[in-house]
Symmetry: none
Subunit: 209 residues, 4 copies
DNA sequence: TATGAATGAGGTTTCATTCAT
DNA sequence: TATGAATGAAACCTCATTCAT
């Protein structure tokens, strides 16, 4: 491994350190209340250094979402070509979502919040492209499976994109909603059951009779 | 009508003016980019005046959500005691949601975003109570109908609260997701179709076979 | 009594009401933290009305001091022509101070604080004249008694004004200092003893041997 | 001198720069009329920088008083163990006070004004502790000397703390009063003579016959 | 005379970002 | 590459004061 590569790797590692620190701080305080200084301090770096790795606060924040979106995309795509039934694939999708929710519910929520007009502007084109790329990757995988299901006569004969939209949207919605109820009521235990019930219903609703 | 009443009404109207102006500005810029001065100027008032009607920016913003949540709750509750079938009631719920989405999608989204830990703190107790009140009002109405459906053997035998959660959460999720796709792709026309498909699937999934 | 006089009296009474309310609020919160609205509400009036009786907040505040200064001056002057010894007169001065301190220590302190360059400017000439008038009235009375004492050979042969200054200044100083200690230590009981000791020492120090 | 020490010194110097600028502005305008922007500009810094060194306006202001109180305490303590008579020590106290008054009468006045309930709250605990510390340091030194004088039979047989209170309070009172007269009459020349006379009287009054 | 809603200037404070070292 | 002190723009909010009723 040459010096250049080692440096690249070192740089990449440092980037991940920052992202990790940022995840902690953003999760705890939300986008606006989190300060760059706090994140820097959590990463054991100085504020100035953050700007060597990220153009600004916005992009640092978005990177979190992209990271998780990327992971989501990868995991979802893994499912597509597995040698299992369509229904099992859909169930795997559910498990991926739950697993990601477990890993960091706050950032997942941030991801779904990303759409607030406020956030979506201000992003550099490059970042926006990435966002779209990973988003459509995950989305495409789901569409593929849904299409497979429709063609096999297992799912109702709707436009596959529409069905995939519903699937994804409902996932996201349940995550958000469930999280909101958790905040308002200080209850935690119903999160996963509700997620599972939701998925069950949606899948059942998609099935052709 | 006495002087006192006239004044009350005048005051109420002024409050609504401010809320209207705030809706416009918040919708266009998002919470953080919107400034009180901008809102005041949109309401043709001076900044100081806003603070006669709302304790701070946060509460003004939340008032928007409360307003729409209240409307949602009222409309949903109207449905409960109508002399129609359970399925028709659920469909009415769907129509209410779509109608509210049409009225002001941005604020509806704000409502569902309200949960971000960041926002939920800083609210005065009174406002938080209202939020909970209208939220549980709407929620309760849905639960009642779902329970009715389960008892009539129309819906699957799940815990009514869980089913209602799923219904509501999926509504919210679809709204958010669909909106996010609209922003990312600058497409608008698929919003309502997707909403309808989603509701169809969810309702179908809830039905006992 | 004619209508004009009745109105004058009515007006004067209202003025005093406001001053009373202001005393309460200023005492509790200090000049800057007290708001005109609070004072108005304490006087069961509306903010606007205050401005019919006082040009601005500053003057309202100063009126308190003038009021107490006037009272102080009157009481001190009463002493001058009483048929008692010089030493008894000086002791009466002490009692007047203690009595006024008892009546409203906060405003007395405000009076002594009045000098802060900040406050002293911004006063209308009329008010400033009053301040000087009552101040020199009280001061003059003390000087007269001190002079009497010097001439009788009871007090040391210093310039009477200088002695009077010392007397007055020490009074004021003890009041302020003692009050400051009260605040810092939450002790209250040593106020009057210290005042008395101070006066004893000063009087004793003024005496010719 | 290592880099760390140089930085510390640099930082300390910057702090003093700010304090100096603040002294000028606060002295000229008083606490409320002075603005942070003005102080920053006087220190040739930007407003934000002030907040790197002081938590807020209040603490910056208090720092001035603490500074002078510290100096006062140090100078007063120096006197205690000098090999001079009790009376000479008391006279040294007087000189210290006069010297400090000469150095910056405005801030000395601020120090004595600090007690206004309004100001005393809002201070961080740390600052309050410092205030108490230096205050009781100076006070303690005076008490020690007074006690010495009483035990030597030079001073009247009062409680030493009470005598010290009177001494200190009268000092403070004379400073404040004299200053107030200066403001009201635009005379300056009588300040020091009055101060001296006051101290003479008080000391004389404390003496046992 | 009394009201009290409205004003709007102005201050404090925060914090993302820069740049000299 | 890393630092972290300094920046300074910009926002929220307060509140003395006004004025139409």
């Amino acid at each position: 491994m040459g010096i250049y590569e080692r440096k690249q790797r070192e740089k990449e590692r440092r980037r991940e350190d920052i992202i990790d620190a940022a995840r902690t701080v953003f999760s705890a305080k939300g986008f606006n209340s989190a300060t760059m200084e706090e994140i820097a301090s959590a990463a054991e770096l100085s504020p100035g250094t953050l700007y060597l790795y990220f153009k600004n606060k916005e992009e640092l924040h978005t990177s979190l979402s992209i990271n998780i979106l990327k992971h989501l995309g990868v995991e979802i795509q893994k499912v597509v070509h597995q040698d299992i039934s369509v229904e099992e694939k859909i169930e795997r999708f559910r498990d991926v979502f739950i697993e990601v929710y477990d890993y960091d519910s706050n950032i997942l929520i941030n991801l779904f919040h990303l759409q607030s007009g406020e956030t979506l502007h201000n992003l550099s084109d490059e970042v926006l492209q990435q966002l779209k790329k990973y988003s459509s990757q995950a989305h495409g995988a789901i569409i593929a499976v849904v299409k497979e299901g429709i063609e096999a006569g297992i799912f109702i004969d709707e436009h596959p994109v529409a069905l995939a939209d519903v699937l994804w949207a409902s996932y996201a919605g349940v995550v958000l909603w469930v999280d909101s109820k958790r905040l308002l009521n200080d209850q935690k235990d119903f999160v996963k059951p509700t997620l599972k019930t939701a998925f069950k219903i949606i899948i059942q609703g998609m099935k052709a009779k």
